[in-house]
Assembly symmetry: C2
Homo-oligomer: 233 residues x 2
DNA sequence: CATGCTATTATGTATATACATAATACATGA
DNA sequence: TCATGTATTATGTATATACATAATAGCATG
């Protein structure tokens, strides 16, 4: 018996992880049930449950009532990216943040935008473009449409000193959203703002947020060439 | 009193979420402590704890002992991307998966690779390039270096029918890793394989995995132009 | 033989209780 | 005043117990 004291759920989790990493329990394998593990580790079933549930949340285990718990196969890695306010992202890297409003207009949106936001094609929406700077160098270009039918308050903001990004987060709740990552070639306009050659490969993050069944905003953030989003798995 | 029965942790979570979305509790606000909420909801503190802990895991609440629980400010969205086996990714979209080995060689790696893998610059490593197809169209180009000092078994594989991607997941454990997303222009070679114009904007996913303190593999996956990675937040 | 009922089983959750731990506030002493 | 110790407090965790729920297997019935 190689177990003496794993009286904490972290301890149980560690030991289970070890067995998975050591291939004692291989991907696809059914592992002992909670009661057995509790007996083996000398702790309550609740504690084992906590440990296994946490691993299942992380994608390493798959659990089904009655069927039992098995090691996830194939091990799907879950990469969690923090989508923060751009100002914080810049400041966290120890750089000086800057902000420039590039455009603010109220007009009918392109069809793919009005469709995504679920509003009529001739509905006049608020369109804001802004440049985020890191140590005075272009960092990201934000291209945003705001559903003013749902967020009329946005019309009273000039977004000259506070970005739409931050204003919305502070003032408008959202309950769900979609996010998509893609690579896009820089248009002539993108290139001008980001101070890079036309057709440069840019990392694009598209977000669409909803407050219950009302769309709030559709935004595309284009990062300067070379930008990376990193995380651990 | 607008609360009668939230006897489940999901119920408590929903009500707390509702209050956050309704701005009854604003970002930065300290919310009542577990004991008070338990009394209000007519359930055990454990149940409230479960609900709040889950919300904190999701990044919506920030909790500190003694200090209490507050609504996260600014609301950092966590986007969780599933990094699956490419074959499954293709098949899940209902497409026919195809695989072509493009290159397999053993040689000294470029310095940035050997440095990332933490091996000597003149160490000969296994280099594999392969094309993943979706309905016979190029889907992704995999460019991989394997640390054969730690994974000698890879030298016995020809990777002609099973991708290195899948073989490694099935056979070599890893305990931690890094992942980075970026946009890159297609090189002439990339363009040839992916059947796209040179300098096309490609979404690049770079992964580096470790088994305890031994590097396993460094891989770059370049997706065909227009590819998106999506998730909900 | 197919269909539906039932028992069984493993996970999922709720509770009271107890104690652990971290962080703050307050008091105390040099 | 400053440092240090101490009490307080909110979250964190472990436990036994009980019951809920989903999925399966096996049985019974038409």
């Amino acid at each position: 018996m190689n177990v003496q004291a794993a009286q904490t759920w972290q301890g149980v989790q560690e030991e289970v992880l070890r067995r998975i990493h050591a291939r004692e329990w291989k991907p696809g394998d059914l592992i002992p049930n909670e009661a057995e593990l509790a007996k083996e580790f000398g702790c309550a079933r609740t504690t084992v449950n906590r440990a296994l549930r946490s691993l299942a949340d992380g994608g390493l285990l798959e659990r089904r009532r009655k069927a039992g718990t098995r090691v996830a196969a194939p091990p799907v890695a879950k990469a969690t990216l923090n989508i923060a306010v751009i100002r914080h992202e810049v400041e966290d890297r120890g750089a000086r943040y800057g902000y420039q409003l590039a455009l603010r207009e109220v007009r009918a949106a392109p069809t793919h935008i009005s469709a995504a936001l679920g509003v009529g094609v001739q509905e006049r929406l608020l369109h804001v473009m802004a440049l985020h700077l890191s140590n005075d160098a272009p960092y990201a270009l934000e291209d945003r449409w705001i559903n003013t039918l749902h967020v009329p308050g946005a019309l009273g903001q000039d977004f000259r000193s506070v970005s739409a990004n931050e204003w919305l987060l502070q003032n408008v709740p959202y309950t769900k959203g979609e996010i998509a990552f893609a690579a896009k070639p820089a248009t002539a306009e993108n290139a001008k703002h980001l101070n890079c050659p036309e057709n440069s490969a840019l990392l694009a993050v598209n977000r669409l947020t909803w407050d219950h069944d009302q769309s709030v905003t559709a935004v595309q953030v284009l990062f300067a060439p070379g930008h990376q989003m990193r995380t651990r798995i």
